[in-house]
Every structure is written in structure tokens, then in C-alpha cells.
């Protein structure tokens, strides 16, 4: 046995190394493509006349849908920022998905909501509607109070009530820039026959309401290493990867916190599915699967602009739960749509996007676990030079940090919104990410993989500890 392990160890090390080299090669190639895409979008930005778009009667109206479940502490920020969108015509539909907290009460109080009967078209079946409320103060706002059915069900309810050709799905825990809708819709209306969806970049914070509408002031990073690491993680993922996916037409994850969809496409798909842990990534896969299979035009684009700030988990346990959920839904979705893998009918989605997902997401926990086991065995069998290992670890940390700084660079060039000290802080902590943050993600991925095989489907929403406390201190008046 010992002899076998001694022989197997170098093979395991080589396998891990090959996997690592392959993933970093893929990331590097994507970084190059993303750089081209980000540069193009940045140049487009300079020639686009947003004032005309914001004021023209030919700008297509949008129905904004905000599902909310137990979001009393945070929902007002999201609703306020959505109502404040700089846009010619939009409605905001908040769907209270059977919250057990004061979400409804907070909305009713803040916006002077009154119950109305609305004879809506039930395009998609949803849980029972308890009431529909209109605001005396904000004519654009409609609030639906319904029995709990999950986020997908709440979104479907919003689609049923929506009146316009495009819907923009937002999260109740995020704050949005005033020009978010305008920037997203610019891409949608430029080629409405082909562009069916648009998504964007998010920033992460503990208090998104302090960071929203950053156009008037520099963005302030929260002083929490966990949040800062999440922010870096998001920036790298969006600006290095998703911009490339967008460019190469396999944008396989339109994020739930900001996704614009053509309403007819959502209706044709039968709405968001309740059979999966999360609804956003599954819808993206489903749209590609259907439209590409039928040979119909289909593009889902990602903007490199940071259009929203979302609340990140403030504790490691909450982060692990969140990321385990993400891992579950990735596995559920990739398995469900496995027919697309390496299938030329699905173009770049099948030939590049799906293999990328399999290599970097599905197989990641296997290789990460393999690397840890190999390390432990190597220590046990003294087949291990600790000095070399440390050097290797530092090299990988720095390589990872290089990718992170590349994303920060893109973000800074596009937005110029971070203060000097925050920029410097993020650069300096970037090499620590692999050691201080990544292990938790590895654990979360493993956990999510195990949960997937056990058939778990729960949402595992994290508590709004920080903002809840702020709300309590403010006497329940809502976010500042």
C-alpha cells in the first residue's frame, strides 16, 4: 500500500499541476479577449449620447422586477434606487414573496401603499396572490404580496404583471446606479432581434446604500477583509471572464442581481424554473439551449460597468453557505443541459462555454480536494520539500493576484471611482486572497458538491446582520 502511494503521489501531483496550468491558461486567454471587449465598450461609452436615450420617447420602456423575501432591512434601498433610474419610462414591481418579517409593512409605510385589485394576465402559474398595492407617492411603483414560492416564483409573478417588452430583474439587497437601466438597455435596443439579455458587473459591500449612486462621490470600500476579498473575486470574475464570455457569445450566467431580458423570450421559456436551486444561471442555459437548438438569433451580453453594489456575507459561515448554493446550482444546471457540451449545434456555448464550466467549476472541487489529499500524503511520506511547496504557493498566489490586479485596472480605468487608499489596499491584499479566502471557497464548493449529490435544493439565505443592526439603531426607519 505504502509503495503504491509512493508511486501514485507524483502522478497525483502532476495531475493537479496540469489542471492548474490548464485553468490558468484558460483564464489568461479569457483575459486577453476580455481586454479587447472592455476596451471596445469603454470607447463606445464615450460616443454614446445617454441624454438622448434617457429622454427620447422611442426608448423602449422597461418593467423592473424586485423579488423580496425577508428583506425588511434592505428593500427600501433597492426600491429607491430602482425608482430613481434615469430612464424615460419604467415601472417598478416589487414582489413580496411571503416574507415573515416586516418587508411589506416597511414598503407600505415608506411609499404609502394601498391595496388595489389588478386584473392581471396570469401567463405563468404562481403561488396565491394576497394583494396588489399601488403607491400614493410613487406612481411607477407596484407591490405584490404573495404566498412564498421562492425567487423564481416571485419573478414569474412580476413577469405576469409587467406591461413592457423588456424586464429587468434586480435583487432586493442591492443598490443600483442611476444609469444602470440606461446602460443595460443601450445594448439591448442596439440589436433587439439578437440581444435577448444583458447583465453587468457588481461591486460587493457591507452597506450598499453607502456606496450607491457613486457617480456623485468616490466609492468607499468597507473595511472588512472578507468583503474586500469578495469584491476582488467579483471584479476578477466579471471583468476578466464574463466580458470574454460576452465577446465570444457564451455568457452562461446572467446574474440575478441585474439581468435585463426580452419579456417574450422569458414567456416563451415558461418563466423562471422552480426546479433548480437558483433561477438565474438556469434561465441563461435554457435560453441558449432553446434558441440555439432552433437556430434562432441569440446574444446575451455583459457590460463591464459596475452598475450595482450588492451586500456580501459578512461571516465566513454565511459565505460558505452562499457559495455552496452556487456550486449546487452550477452542477444542477450543467448536468441538466449536458447535451450542449461539445455539441457544435450550440456554437461557442457548447464548444467553449460548457467545457470551460466543466473544467473550472464542475471539476474544481475534485482537483482541489485531490491537491489537499496529495499534500497531506506527501507530508506523511516525507515526499515533500516544504521550501519548494512554499515557493510554489507564493508563485500561485502572485499569479492569482496578477489576474486580480488586471481586473482592478480595468475597473479603475472605466470608472475612476475608488479612492486612492482603497485602491492601494485592494492591490496589497490581492496576494493574500489565495491563502486567506480561497480555502473557504474550496470548502464551499466541496460542500455544495456533496449537497448536490444528496439532492439538496434550499436557498440558504444569509442573515442581514450588519444592515439589520443599522436598521434597528435607526429605529426601523430604513437604510440611511
Amino acid at each position: 500500500m505504502t509503495a503504491f502511494l509512493r508511486e501514485a503521489l507524483p502522478v497525483a501531483v502532476q495531475a493537479c499541476f496540469v489542471y492548474l496550468a490548464l485553468t490558468y491558461l484558460l483564464f489568461f486567454l479569457q483575459l486577453v479577449v476580455a481586454a479587447v471587449e472592455n476596451l471596445r465598450r469603454s470607447r463606445e461609452e464615450r460616443i454614446e449620447d445617454y441624454r438622448l436615450l434617457a429622454n427620447s420617447r422611442f426608448t423602449i420602456p422597461v418593467s423592473v422586477i424586485i423579488p423580496a423575501y425577508n428583506e425588511a432591512a434592505v428593500v427600501l434601498g433597492a426600491v429607491r434606487s430602482a425608482l430613481d433610474f434615469d430612464y424615460f419610462d419604467h415601472e417598478v414591481i416589487v414582489v413580496n414573496d411571503g416574507s415573515r418579517d416586516d418587508t411589506m409593512a416597511v414598503l407600505i409605510r415608506e411609499y404609502d401603499m394601498h391595496p388595489y385589485q389588478v386584473f392581471y394576465r396570469r401567463t405563468m402559474p404562481t403561488e396565491e396572490v394576497r394583494g396588489i398595492y399601488r403607491s400614493a407617492r410613487a406612481p411607477r411603483l407596484l407591490v405584490v404580496d404573495k404566498a412564498n414560492g421562492g425567487k423564481a416564483d416571485a419573478l414569474n409573478m412580476g413577469i405576469n404583471l409587467s406591461r413592457y417588452r423588456y424586464v429587468c430583474c434586480l435583487d432586493a439587497d442591492s443598490m443600483y446606479e442611476r444609469d444602470a437601466l440606461l446602460k443595460g438597455m443601450r445594448l439591448a435596443v442596439a440589436d433587439p432581434a439578437r440581444v435577448v439579455g444583458v447583465t453587468s458587473v457588481l461591486a460587493v459591500g457591507l452597506h450598499p446604500e453607502r456606496q450607491g449612486s457613486v457617480r456623485d462621490a468616490a466609492r468607499r470600500m468597507d473595511r472588512s477583509m472578507l468583503i474586500n476579498f469578495q469584491h476582488l473575486d467579483y471584479q476578477r470574475s466579471f471583468l476578466n471572464n464574463r466580458s470574454a464570455w460576452s465577446r465570444l457569445d457564451y455568457m452562461l450566467c446572467a446574474i440575478g442581481a441585474f439581468m435585463i431580458w426580452r419579456r417574450d423570450v422569458l414567456v416563451e421559456m415558461g418563466g423562471f424554473s422552480r426546479d433548480f436551486t437558483c433561477e438565474d444561471i438556469e434561465m441563461t442555459f435554457r435560453v441558449y439551449e432553446r434558441l440555439l437548438r432552433e437556430g434562432r438569433p441569440c446574444r446575451i451580453l455583459a457590460l463591464p460597468d459596475t452598475l450595482a453594489t450588492t451586500e456580501g456575507p459578512a461571516q465566513i459561515s454565511a459565505l460558505v453557505r452562499q457559495r455552496a448554493r452556487w456550486q449546487r446550482v452550477i452542477l444542477e444546471t450543467v448536468w441538466h443541459y449536458r447535451r450542449m457540451l461539445l455539441n457544435p449545434r450550440y456554437k461557442t456555448v457548447g464548444l467553449i462555454g460548457m467545457p470551460f464550466y466543466v473544467i473550472t467549476e464542475v471539476l474544481a472541487p475534485v482537483f482541489e480536494l485531490g491537491a489537499v489529499v496529495t499534500l497531506v500524503l506527501a507530508v506523511l511520506f516525507h515526499a515533500f520539500d516544504f521550501g519548494e511547496f512554499l515557493l510554489f504557493l507564493v508563485a500561485i498566489s502572485m499569479l492569482n493576484a496578477g489576474f486580480t490586479v488586471a481586473a482592478l485596472f480595468v475597473q479603475d480605468r472605466m470608472m475612476r471611482e475608488l479612492q486612492w487608499r482603497d485602491l492601494l489596499h485592494l492591490v496589497l491584499i490581492s496576494p493574500l486572497e489565495l491563502i486567506a479566502y480561497r480555502p473557504w471557497l474550496t470548502w464551499a464548493r466541496l460542500k455544495g458538491t456533496i449537497e448536490y449529490f444528496r439532492g439538496r435544493k434550499g436557498w440558504d439565505k444569509f442573515d442581514r446582520n450588519v444592515r439589520q443592526a443599522a436598521l434597528a439603531r435607526a429605529g426601523g426607519a430604513g437604510p440611511p
Binding site: 422611442f58 386584473f119 502572485m398 492591490v427 490581492s430
Partner: protein, 402 residues
Amino acid sequence: MGLVFAVAAWALLAVWMLADRALYELNHRGVRVRGHRLVPRGPEQPPEMHAERARGLLARLPAAVIERLAADAGLPRWLTEPFAAHTLARKGAARFLRAASAHRGGRGRWRRIAALRILCAGGHPDAPALLRSALLSGDPDLVGAAVSLLGDQRSPAAAEQLIQALRERLHPPSRVAARLDRFPLLVPDLILPLVRDPDPAVRFWGATLLARYGARPDVAPALVGLVTDDDASVRKAAVESLGAVGGGEADTTALRLLEDPVWFVRAHAARALGDLERADLAPRVLPLLADPQWWVRAAVKDALQAMGPAVAPAVAGVLGHPDRFARNGAAEVLQNLGVLDELAGRAARGEASAEDQALLARAGAAGGIAPTPGTARRILPMAADRVRVLLPGPVGLEGHGR
């Protein structure tokens, strides 16, 4: 070796980024361009303050930054015009004329667009010819920039070029039309011929754009002439514009199109009547509350609400309609017009006539609307019980649209 490479890559990128940021800060002297501090939010400032602000920035910012800002589409004209004039005076127009006349490669395209913007903002006499050449270039970004710049020109020739772009589909027609719709000059003589174009898409945009020129006596007849167009989109655009324009024949035309075989024409005809705010025409619109198409029914409800509370008696008559969609729609309109609240309020105060009480009860029972919890909570929580007595109980919606 790998470690050295990784550390060097990280350090190089970090230093590059920080140096780039430092250079940016130095050049912009504390002015955050994309951050809108250049153009403070809030009420519009008087022109003299604009001029003063522009002068201050010209004195403060380096020439390269001023040049870049002069070509920035996100900035207002009161900044780009003096910046462009300053740039042209300082660097000479020849360089920009060269860059704006042709391009090679991706970067060249963006330089060409920047040069065009500067020449236009600086009011250079060759700018119109260069815009024309850009418009016909076939490059989507360049054509888009040319359309955008033409839309800001105060000359009929620019409008003619935009109309050419619309006819020949040199750029997405909605974007060109948006420019024409907000063109600085009124150009009805250029728009009117569009409604006689053989291409239905051009006629559609012509009819849509005429909504801005309702004061011209020949506009309404031109729109009326389109209601028999073979293309449904053109009929829809015509009736939509007639709703905005008004005039003698707008109502009769819209009424005629309520019977159009195409659903979206009927929907827009109803909306047009709503825009005309003719409550006396409500009885003609009401039958469409039972239209087979959901969107028509929704448009009719909007139209009736736009006509105002005067439609209430006519709408109340539909509460007994055999079609459940019509009943529900009528009750919803009465609710949204505040009629139910008013009746319930009277009932709560003990001032409701027998007729009021009967209508309230019909709205609750036959209309399929559930004013019991809603209306009572809206008017006077104290009187909720009293109002509830008048109603047959919460009935909810009878069904859902298809």
C-alpha cells in the same frame, strides 16, 4: 523562475495601474470626469455660470485632457464647445480634418470619431461634409457617431442627411428617428414626404415623427390618409400620432380603427381616444373591454382612465356585461378612477344614495373586483365595517386573462 515571473507580473501590473491613476489624477487636477463632478447635479445653472466654469477648467486642465473632453459625448455642449474651440485654436484644424476624413483599423475609427466630434463642437465649416462621408462609411460605430452629431446640428441639411439615413437604413431606424424627434429645428416639410414613401417602414417612422408637428394644418390630414394603409404598423403609428395631434378628424379616425382586424391597431386606437380625453366617446370604446386580445383590453382600461371620472356612468353599465373580462375591466377602471372610493366614502358617512349603494354592490358582486378589503382600507379604516356591510363579501377576481 515561475515565482519571479508571477511576482514581476503582479508588481508590474500594480505599478502600471497606480501610475495610470496618478497620471489621471494629475491631469484632471481633482476633476472626476466620469464622476460627474465636472457637471454638478441639481438645478440648471445660468449660462454665465457655465461660461465661467468652462473658463476655469480651460485654465486648469492640460491640453490633452481638454481635447479628450471636447470629444466626450457625455458632456454638455456648454463644455464641449469651448473645449473644442480651444483645442482647434491651439493645435490647428488640419490634424483633426485629416483624422476625420478617413481611418484605418480599430483605433483609427475611434480617433476619427473623436476628431469629428471636436470639429462639430468647434463649428468647423468642413464638419458637415465630413459627417456625410462618415454617415455613408458603412462602419456601424462611425455611422452611429455621425447620426448623433447630425442630430445636434442646427441646419436643415443635417436633418436631410438624417432622413436619408432613415430611408436607406444606414443605422437602426429607432435611433435615427430619436434624433429627428429631438432635432433642434422644426422640419415638418422634410418629415411629411415620408408618409408617402413606398417603404412601409419609412411611412411608419414618418407617421410617428409627425406627432411633433400637430400645429401644422396639413399634418392631421396626412395622418388621416394613412388609416387605410395596407401596413398595420403604419395605421398604428398614424392613429397614435393623431391621438397626440388631436384635431377634428382624430376622434372619428380613431373610432374607425377600433374595428381594425389587427389587435395592436385597435389597442392604439383606444389609447389615442384616451389621449384625446373625450369622455363622451367612452361608450364607443367600452365594447373593447371584451376584446379577445389582452393588450387591447389593457389599452382600453388605460384609455378610459385617461378620459377621467366622467366615464363612470358608462363604465358602470358594463358591470353587468356577460363577458367576465369586460366586467372585471369595468370594475377595475371604476376603482382606479377613485369612483369606488368615493362611493364607499359616502356610504361610510351615511350619505350614499340608494343608487350609490347599488352601484357599489354591483361593482363588488358582478364586477368581480374585491373592494371590500381594498376600498375600505383606503378610505377610512374606522368605517371599514360599515362599508363591508354594503358588499357581498370579498369576491376576488373572477378569472385571469389569456
